[in-house]
């Protein structure tokens, strides 16, 4: 399958701290790829670098065969890349509806936006019930759904998801992972960053393990589930 995203020898610094060290990986069309690793391993930094929130020191980010290193973050949305950020970052004072419409900010096809709004409401019935409520009044799980729905409103070909299960109750965690799988089945390629390695490996096709800014292990997700190294470090629940 075709590579939708290709990261080559990426290096990112925070001041003098070398946060991402020579990281390379690929995501193919239609896959769920997960980056797992402990807190501070550089998972979020990697995603933020891809979507242009942090500039890389060196290396290349290739999306659909083109380097996007120099493309400002806001222009990636209209190229089909959506990022569901860590901590959800919904616009707390704005209503659920306003949040969703901001997700469609780059689009002008009114009919398509309406269709996708219906699609989001079908996928997340709870959002429809709370459509006029300020996003800040939603529960953590609902806010995560809103953040995902908001990203879907841009009609993405690829979604980067940063810790979607963080801070959620076990019921919500299962629901969120089900939704991620369904989004993927509908044709959206997914790059998933997770601390919940067990869940992530269960829905992913392939996985990369990050340790202090470096990729230390990669392979088929189901195989990594049984890998003794991974088991010892990340699956001890």
């Amino acid at each position: 399958m075709e590579n939708i995203l290709e990261i080559k020898n990426l290096n990112v610094y925070y001041g003098v701290i070398h946060a991402i060290k020579d990281v390379s990986f690929t995501v193919r069309q239609g896959e769920i790829v997960t980056l797992i690793g402990a807190n501070g391993a550089g998972k979020t930094t990697t995603l933020q670098t891809i979507t242009g929130l942090i500039p890389p020191r060196s290396g290349e980010i290739i999306y659909h065969g083109k380097s996007i290193n120099k493309i400002p973050g806001h222009k990636l949305v209209s190229q089909g890349m959506a990022h569901v950020p860590e901590g959800r970052r919904v616009f707390a004072d704005l209503t659920v509806y306003q949040n969703l419409m901001l997700g469609a900010y780059t689009r002008t096809d009114k009919a398509g936006i309406d269709d996708d709004l219906e699609m989001v409401y079908t996928r997340f019935p709870r959002l429809k019930e709370r459509v006029n409520q300020p996003a800040g009044t939603l529960s953590g799980g609902e806010q995560q759904m809103l953040a995902m729905g908001r990203a879907l409103m841009s009609k993405p070909r690829m979604m980067l998801m940063d810790e979607p299960s963080m801070g959620l109750s076990p019921i919500y965690v299962n629901e969120i992972f089900d939704i991620i799988r369904k989004i993927n089945e509908d044709g959206v390629t997914i790059l998933l960053v997770e601390q919940n390695a067990n869940k992530a490996l269960n829905i992913a096709n392939r996985a990369y393990v990050l340790e202090t800014g470096r990729i230390v292990l990669e392979g088929d997700a189901k195989q990594l589930l049984t890998d003794p190294q991974v088991k010892a470090a990340y699956l001890s629940e």
């Binding site: 979507t51 929130l53 806001h74 990636l76 950020p85 616009f91 419409m101 901001l102 900010y105």
Partner: protein, 294 residues
């Protein structure tokens, strides 16, 4: 009673000017998280441009308003681009000092271009005053236009923010620049638009202010600028209704103090009220901990 009404109405009118200026402060603060202390001087430039078109060249007053708004819009965007944009991410103290620098730059440029002598601004509004209560209350045409203008601006701005894509983008940028970028919003462009709107409003404020108080010099915008900034803080900085209410309250207190207490003490009273309000409610009248900012 009649004199009280007269003072009250002119207080509302003065407050409406403060409110229009305060909107510029509060919008820029909400979006760019900076205090644009040069905002008051944009008012002065706006008034000079209108003076040139209307009094010096003798052209149409409406044209004077439009050209003045355009000039201030360009000025506002230019200031943001040259002075503030390179400091994005710098400490707020650096930005504040830069803003004060821009303020002095504008004042001294005006001094150089227009000279040190104060100009007598001819009011752009020239229909006859309205007399109420058998002529004991006289409302000048400038007063009426000022109040009307502020109401129209308030409605237009609220509609713009709530109903347009750009307005929603402004709310998003004000809440979370990173998340706004992830929505595909060009944060820099949104900030520039905010400066453009604030500066166009400053032009209107400058014209209305000088139509009511006709002495125009390079420091004309300084004091109203500070008072409008106070009004914005008073109302809760970042809040649009707060700026409007803050401006009105400031104008009314100032005018009534001048009339009934002491014209020398009026400013002290106004700022005294601000201090009391901030002691009781540090976020200002309409300010919440998580407020709707723009």
């Amino acid at each position: 009673m009649a004199s009280f009404l007269t003072y009250l109405i002119s207080g509302i009118s003065l407050g409406a000017v403060y409110a229009i200026i305060a909107l510029g402060y509060t919008m820029v603060y909400g979006i760019a998280k900076m205090l644009n202390f040069a905002h008051g001087d944009v008012i002065m430039i706006g008034a000079y441009v209108a003076f040139l078109i209307f009094s010096t060249l003798g052209l149409n007053p409406i044209l004077a308003v439009i050209v003045s708004m355009l000039a201030c819009t360009v000025l506002g965007i230019t200031i943001e681009r040259i002075a503030y944009k390179p400091l994005r991410g710098a400490s707020s103290l650096s930005v504040l000092i830069t803003a004060i620098g821009v303020s002095y730059f504008l004042q001294n440029s005006a001094l150089l271009i227009f000279g040190a002598d104060s100009k007598t601004f001819t009011s752009l509004v020239s229909f006859p005053p309205i007399k109420l209560m058998g002529g004991s209350v006289v409302i000048s045409s400038v007063t009426i236009v000022t109040i009307l203008a502020s109401v129209i601006i308030m409605i237009a701005l609220t509609t713009f923010i709530n109903k347009t894509r750009t307005g929603q983008a402004m709310l998003a940028v004000s809440a979370d620049k990173g998340a706004a970028t992830l929505m595909g919003i060009d944060v820099n462009r949104t900030i520039a638009i905010t400066f453009a709107i604030g500066s166009a409003l400053a032009a209107i404020a400058g014209i209305l202010l000088c139509s009511a108080y006709p002495a125009l010099s390079s420091t004309t915008g300084a004091m109203p600028g500070i008072k409008a900034f106070t009004a914005a803080v008073f109302g809760g900085i970042g809040s649009i209704p707060g700026a409007m209410i803050g401006g009105l309250v400031m104008g009314i207190i100032e005018n009534l103090s001048k009339a009934y207490i002491s014209s020398q003490l009026a400013d002290a009273i106004v700022f005294g009220v601000l201090i009391v309000v901030l002691l009781v409610k540090p976020t200002g009248l309409m300010g919440k901990k998580i407020q709707e900012k723009v």
